[in-house]
């Protein structure tokens, strides 16, 4: 397994929003999808997932609905709300700007000022 990247604080919310934007998921499903997309390189603490989900639900960025899972069990599915979509777009833009700036700093060669 490739080296796992520790999750920076505050980005968990953004990742959850992205995961959910690709389709309704329950909590475990979000974890699985994120591991899928990152190819297992991102390790998310199981314990920190649900408080984040509840927080996002309280803020109105995701909506929850009870449904049936693949194996006919009762599970709570989350979807992105309009506000959540907006927030995701904003955070993505912010993240891209941030990473560009930091990458620029890190690329600086001694002698450049």
């Amino acid at each position: 397994m490739n080296k796992q990247v520790e999750l920076l604080q505050g980005t968990l919310d953004m990742l959850i929003l992205k995961a959910v934007s690709l389709g309704a998921l329950h909590g475990y499903g979000i974890l699985v999808r994120l591991e899928q997309i990152t190819g297992g390189r991102l390790h998310i603490q199981q314990g920190s997932l649900y408080p984040a989900l509840y927080r996002l639900e309280r803020k109105g960025l995701i909506a929850a609905e009870w449904g049936e899972s693949d194996n006919k069990r009762r599970a709570k599915y989350y979807t992105l709300t309009a506000a959540g979509r907006k927030q995701l777009k904003a955070e993505t833009a912010l993240w891209n700007d941030f990473s560009t700036v930091v990458a620029g700093v890190l690329k600086a060669v001694p002698g450049e000022s």
């Binding site: 909590g27 984040a52 927080r55 599970a75």
Partner: protein, 881 residues
């Protein structure tokens, strides 16, 4: 979140988390791990279920709610365990809030409220003034002002008066007001039904007497709220008048508190008075033109007035008294009669109520402090196991809020009751003052705010102190060791001292006011007021001043005297303490009158039986007889004060005096008697000079008369029989104001009775509060010093000395409070001086009495704790921490 919802939330969360674990376990199993191993790993990775649930709850925002719920439950449990304390706190708060609110309501109605007219600040009263005072200008001047003054948008006049009307029940007397047609337009008042009077209603009407409006209250009471009353024609002083509208009761006239039933155009009143160029019987109100300052309006009005007075012939003296210049005053609050009478007593009562509120707050603060101190150990333990300080402070806050909230709720209740009681007090059979005491939200918020602030501040401070204390110290030292206890105890004792001081002030006030009331009640009236029935009798207008009326008077007296139980009856133009007054100016033979003051006397015309009916002794000479008729030589009787003033030590029998304020120059009367001084309109003021004339020889026309009937027993029982006797002489006789002399005297003392009763109530409450506060403090002190007492006893102190310890603490606190309280009472002495009668605000008896009372109470409060202290078992006391 409601309970049902909450339960579902919890179940859902449980399901969701379980599902996750099961899914993870299933995946692990699928990747080849055994079921138990998978379960173990899942559990470890996920973490403790309960902790996760707590984190989820927190994330969802339920934590605060849960904490609040816990705090409330704790508070109610504590209250249930100590209901006495809570009850006292809540009740005392309720009393303080209720009292302040109720009294402020009256204060507001009497002193602060603006009249419900359009733009009250633009209205002003216009007076004719001189060194004697000021009064409404004469009608002809009013007309001049109305027509010519440019500073006013409009000028109107009104004059309250009893108005006789005939509707469907024969003659009745209504409380009325004469108004100019534009009066209500000037005020900007609209009718509730029908229309108001307008300027065109002033036009001389010929047959059509014109329009009138009635008040809503009168409409309800007299006409049963029947809308068909509009358009009904009634007779007002023999003119036909149509009721055209119904107006709000509070704005019929501009006198707060005075109930008005009907408003009638002034043209129907008295043409002579309206033509009289010097009669002061009106109130004139004007609406300032936008942007015109009052000063400018006054100057213009004054200019017109001087020009007017140039054409009026009055003596220089009279002119300087009342016709010197124009004065203008704000009309937004209406006439100030009620206000000037009641402003001081109400202010004093407001201060007293405020003191009770302070005492209640002190009590609450003390209790909160006590509780905080008792909880120090509790707080220390919780801090030690990880509670946040904010949490602890929030808990104290919730407790304080619950107590304050309870106090507020009951306070509203008390305020309602108090307001109703005050309203009843004011209108006890007395129809002269009617106040609109609807509930005042402003004051309630104020009182609640004050209580909240003090309760919180005083409750929070100890909580913060305890929460900031070092838990280690709190855990070891028991109730002794925590730093700040001494300071807290000092605050606590300070609060008790403050409570005692407040009680002293209130009780001293009570003592002074009650004594003052007694002094007033025992003032020698000069006549015997018990057992006298009084009433006003008015014949038809056409009979005023005629021989027919005089013979009617004699017949009525004969009839009334025949009623079994009646001892005497007599007529007078006015009876004492009836609120009526009439004056005249005389010059006595041989007396050099320097100013008009010297010429002033009060004037009444009486029948021969008058003095005997009232049991006023004739000191010299004789009373009147039937022979003092209209044609006989003119005679008069002076009262002692007048006789002494004009004639010194010599007996004035046979001397002459004449009236100078009437146009006829030959009004010379011979003095035939001197009668004892009586109190006519006030119990406080010194006796004034009085002159009595026989009714047939009166200088003025005899209109309505007052009848006084002395009876055996309760006079009110004779009201019906006497009324029947009078009615038998003519159904056109209008009988009003049936009352007893005793009640009229009592009504004159309304203010003093109000103040005495209320301050007694407040004093008792404050006294009770201090007693309880002191008891609580002493009990706590004994608990705290148990160890110390044990040591003392072990070293040989007797039980007596231990008792002495407690009692002396009580007396020390009480004395401190008494000293402070008496100083404060002395400081307030100047304010109350004007309210007192025959009592010095620094009366030593009252001060001594209050001191003794409070020291005795302190000793009583000490009994319980001291007994407990002295009965402590030294061994177990020593063992205690």
């Amino acid at each position: 979140m409601r309970f049902g919802h909450r339960q579902r939330f919890e179940d859902d969360m449980d399901d969701e988390l379980r599902f996750h674990i099961e899914a993870y376990v299933a995946d692990l199993v699928r990747s080849g791990i055994s079921h138990e191993e998978a379960a173990r790993r899942a559990r470890i990775e996920f973490g403790s279920m309960e902790t996760k649930k707590e984190e989820c709850r927190q994330a969802y925002g339920l934590q605060r709610l849960d904490e609040l719920g816990a705090d409330l439950r704790l508070t109610f449990r504590t209250i249930r365990r100590n209901p006495g304390f809570a009850a006292v706190a809540i009740l005392s708060l309720a009393l303080g809030i209720g009292a302040t609110t109720a009294i402020f309501g009256v204060l507001d109605a009497v002193m602060l409220r603006l009249l419900p007219v359009r733009d009250p600040s633009g209205l002003v009263f216009v007076y004719s003034a001189g060194y004697e005072g000021r009064d409404g200008p004469p009608y002809p001047y009013f007309e001049l002002l109305r027509d010519q003054a440019k500073s006013f948008d409009s000028v109107a006049a009104f004059s309250p008066s009893g108005i006789e009307l005939v509707a469907d029940r024969g003659r009745e007397l209504a409380r009325g007001v004469w108004v100019t047609g534009n009066f209500y337009e000037t005020l900007g008042v609209r009718a509730l039904l029908g229309r108001t009077l307008v300027a065109s209603d002033d036009q001389p009407g010929g047959d059509d007497g014109g329009a009138a409006v009635i008040s809503r209250a009168y409409w309800q009471q007299r006409f049963g709220g029947d809308p068909s009353v509009i358009g009904r024609v009634i007779q007002v002083f023999n003119h036909s008048v149509t009721i055209v509208g119904i107006l709000p009761t509070e704005i019929m006239s501009l006198e707060p508190g005075r109930p008005i039933d009907i408003a009638v155009p002034m043209k129907l009143s008295s043409p002579e008075k309206m033509r009289d160029r010097t009669a002061l019987w009106l109130f004139v109100v004007g609406r300032l033109r936008g942007g015109v300052p009052a000063q400018q309006a006054r100057a213009e009005a004054d200019g017109l007035f001087q020009a007017y007075m140039a054409g009026v012939s009055v003596s220089d003296q009279v002119r300087r008294m009342l016709f010197q210049r124009i004065e203008i005053s704000d009309a937004g609050q209406g006439l100030s009669g009620l206000r000037s009478m009641y402003s001081r007593p109400l202010t004093v009562l407001m201060i007293l109520a405020g003191l009770v509120l302070c005492a209640a707050c002190a009590n609450l603060a003390n209790m909160m402090l006590g509780r905080a101190l008792a909880r120090q150990r509790d707080f220390a333990v919780r801090l030690a196991i990880g509670a946040s300080r904010g949490r602890l402070i929030r808990q104290t806050l919730v407790e304080a809020l619950v107590l304050v909230g309870g106090g507020l709720l009951f306070g509203i209740l008390f305020a309602h009751v108090g307001t109703a009681a005050l309203a009843a007090f004011f209108s006890e059979g007395n129809t002269k003052i009617v106040l609109d005491l609807s509930f005042n939200l402003r004051v309630l918020s104020f009182a609640a705010g004050v209580t909240l602030l003090s309760g919180l501040a005083l409750g929070i401070l100890p909580a913060i102190r305890a929460a900031n204390a070092d838990p280690a110290l709190g855990l070891q030292g028991g109730s002794r060791g925590v730093a700040g206890t001494r300071a807290a105890m000092a605050v606590s004792r300070g609060l008790v001292v403050v409570q005692v001081a407040l009680s002293v002030v209130l009780l001293a006030g009570t003592g002074l006011f009650v004594r003052s009331l007694n002094e007033l009640k025992s003032v020698d009236l000069g006549y015997r007021s018990e057992g006298i029935l009084t009433m006003e009798v008015a014949p038809e207008r056409r009979v005023f001043g005629t021989p027919e009326w005089f013979s009617l008077q004699t017949r009525i007296l004969d009839n009334v005297r025949r009623v079994p139980g009646v001892r005497a009856a007599g007529w007078a133009t006015m009876n004492p303490m009836s609120g009526r007054d009439r004056g005249a100016m005389i010059e006595a033979e041989g007396f050099s009158h320097r100013t008009d003051e010297d010429r002033k006397v009060h004037l009444a015309a009486v029948s021969p039986e008058h003095f005997e009916t009232l049991e006023m002794p004739v000191l010299f000479g004789r009373s009147f007889t039937e022979r003092d008729s209209g044609n006989a030589p003119k005679v008069a009787i002076l009262n002692e004060t007048a006789a002494r003033f004009y004639f010194g030590r010599s007996i004035p029998i046979g001397r002459k005096m004449r009236f100078t304020n009437y146009p006829s120059p030959d009004l010379i009367y011979e003095i035939v008697g001197v009668v004892k001084d009586i109190r006519h309109d006030s119990l406080r003021d010194p006796v004034a000079r009085f002159i009595y004339l026989p009714i047939p020889q009166h200088v003025e026309r005899i209109n309505r008369l007052a009848l006084a009937v002395r009876c055996f027993g309760d006079p009110i029982l004779f009201a019906e029989p006497v009324r029947k006797q009078i009615a038998s002489e003519g159904s056109a006789l209008l009988i009003t104001d049936v009352n007893t002399m005793e009640k009229q005297v009592e009504d004159a003392l309304l203010r003093e009775r109000l103040v005495a009763a209320l301050s007694a109530t407040f004093g008792t409450v404050a006294m009770t509060l201090s007693c309880i506060g002191l008891y609580g403090l002493l009990a706590y002190t004994v608990t705290r010093r148990t160890n110390e007492i044990g040591i003392r006893m072990a070293l040989g102190a007797s039980r007596g000395s231990v008792t002495g310890l407690v009692v002396s603490e009580a007396l020390r606190l009480a004395s401190a409070g008494v000293v402070i309280g008496l100083s404060a009472a002395a400081a307030l002495g100047q304010v109350t001086r004007a309210l007192l009668f025959g009592v010095d605000p620094y009366d030593p008896q009252v001060y001594a009495g209050v001191t003794t009372l409070l020291l005795a109470l302190a000793a009583t409060a000490a009994v319980g704790p001291s007994r407990r202290a002295s009965s402590l078992d030294p061994v177990s006391a020593l063992r205690q921490d």
